[in-house]
């Protein structure tokens, strides 16, 4: 009998938190729901996976809670794997969340099933990227940033970027689904390595863009998801 992964949810919507506490899934069990990251850290409990709403709304007294990249950094320090749950759709910002350490990214516009699947995947040690981020991987590969990818990797990447599920890709390439998923895992690993090695600006396709535009596209504007000002020197939240 396999142990179910222990999951916590951080979301400022109490109905979503309550719903997640009642979710029954063979792969995980939700053991905690918190209104913000500060509450999660204060609870001092350990979880395998934390589903993190990326944009916690300011409280009534106007205090900005920890969110975005700062929140991911803080949760990572508890050894939990982070699934970013976000309405954000800008590919470079989502890529930035991955660079900050999120193991999975799920769009809020996805069906709830997609969120449950992502939690299970991340709990199993895999990474989950939305199609837009896979598109960024494809772009990086075209720009020669991922020389470690072999032709078969590239074929898997191209089909995945077109939205095909693993089974369909396996059928198309006459491979087993497990092998295709391993290729996918390799691709993600190589991409994350790239993110940790090079400046994100290097991925910008249009050289004509100014730095300001790139920063804005990256979500580096004040208070945005990748705002590192929300971190203190130790990488812990300052709120």
């Amino acid at each position: 009998m396999t142990t179910k992964a222990s999951v916590a949810v951080v979301d400022d919507d109490s109905m979503i938190c309550e719903h997640m506490l009642e979710v029954e899934d063979p792969n995980f069990e939700v053991h905690g729901a918190f209104a913000n990251v500060e509450s999660l850290l204060h609870a001092e409990k350990s979880f395998d996976v934390v589903v993190l709403d990326m944009w916690i709304r300011p409280r009534v007294n106007g205090v900005t809670p920890m969110r975005g990249a700062a929140a991911i950094n803080a949760v990572k320090r508890t050894d939990a794997r982070v699934v970013a749950y976000t309405a954000e759709e800008r590919p470079l910002v989502l890529t930035g969340l991955l660079a900050a350490g999120a193991r999975g990214i799920v769009s809020k516009s996805e069906p709830t099933r997609a969120l449950y699947d992502a939690i299970a995947e991340v709990a199993a040690g895999r990474k989950v990227l939305p199609a837009t981020v896979v598109g960024m991987v494809e772009l990086a590969q075209r720009h020669g940033q991922l020389p470690r990818l072999r032709p078969r990797h590239i074929k898997v990447l191209q089909l995945r970027a077109r939205g095909l599920p693993w089974n369909a890709i396996a059928q198309e390439l006459v491979l087993s689904p497990k092998t295709v998923q391993e290729y996918g895992s390799d691709i993600t690993g190589i991409f994350v390595d790239l993110l940790q090695r090079v400046d994100l600006v290097g991925l910008e396709p249009d050289d004509a863009h100014s730095m300001a535009v790139i920063a804005k596209t990256l979500g580096l504007a004040e208070g945005d998801l990748l705002d590192t000002d929300l971190l203190d020197p130790d990488g812990r939240g300052v709120h």
């Binding site: 809020k108 996805e110 199609a131 598109g135 077109r162 939205g163 599920p165 249009d206």
Partner: protein
Amino acid sequence: MSANDPGGRPGLGPRRRKPQRPTADSGRIERVRWVWSRLWSVPASLEGMLFLGVCAVLGLRLTSFGQLVVALPTSVSSSPRPILDLVLGGVFLIESIWLARALLNARTPVDTRIVVIDTAFMSALLASQYVWAASGLSHTTWEAWGFGVSMSTVLLVALGTTRFRYAILGGASLALCYLVAVFDDARAADATMTVVTNALGYFANIFVARFVWTFLKRTARAADRAREREAKARAEMIAARELAEFRRLSERRTFTDFLHDQAFLMQVIAEWDEVAADLTRQQAVRKQARRAAQFSRTWVHGRGQNELTTIGDVLRHAADEFAHLNVSLVTSLVDNIHLGSEALYELESVLRTVLTNVDKHADACRVTVHGGLDEAGTVWEVTVYDDGVGIDEEAHTRGHGWGEQIPAAMARLGGQATYSSPGRGTLVTLTGVMPDLRQHEEIA
């Protein structure tokens, strides 16, 4: 400004080209032009004003030195102590060099230490004329050059003292030493009025220079204050604009989240057992969820009014139009791929037909629209994948869209449309040749 006179200014003639910083290959004339242009680049501010004061003092001192060089042979030949006359000329040169360095370092004549030292030196030099100036000629500037070279010190006193009374004190020191040195000799030579007016000239020059200098400083300060006010107003305007933009983005994000949360809750409700048991109710709830998602997508993107210039624009436009299909969009590779407006219209039309088919027949949870380009950059490709029911090849009959409209449009784009069923769902692939290559092919 006329079209063939791009650098012209109305009524001022053509604008001169600004000299560039000289390089190792620059000629002598270019270097001189550069130095000359730098002289005129002193800022019209209090700082620039003070530096101009330094330039005026040193310019006058240089002129004085030129006069000394001309006068010194006459002075030495008539002096009872020619060696002392010559040595003092050298000392004057050394003091002038020190003064130039000190003033250029300070970049302002308002430096009490410099003013006091130079005034004391010049007073001593004037007093020393009593010893080395020729008898009966101490009031003349060729034989007794002390008065002539003291004019730069007069200007320094006028410009460099912090109070008017200090300037008068400096002038009094110079006038007194001058009179002590030459008055008796001048009286004997019947030139009393000459030396008295010379002494009074110190005060007159200080008064006039001080008056003009004070006025110019006040003007420069007023200009500085005006610039500061303008810069502050501009900074405040930029800060206010940034704050407004930040608030707008934050507010939009808050509403986006709010709308997304509504969509999420609707999806959750649709999965409740009691709702799922009633298909009609479930469909109604799902419809509500889609509508909430569509609202949020429209709120997030707001791209409806933008002009379509690239394939990426067409894909985004289509995704907005069919937002209720939960479209994942991947446009990174085609964001800069421009097609002509007619071609974009054709592509948009084809894409609309494809997505309408998905909407009507696929029963899909998720649709991915992807734009790509082949490795050689010669063929663009747009794919639409849905995870719906797929295509039953045996039962499938081609309607007007797939049978006529899409093939005709794709032919006009120089490409083709294909579809397949990779496992569950449908993959539609639209390909076309890049516009430049199409032109080459048509010419061939």
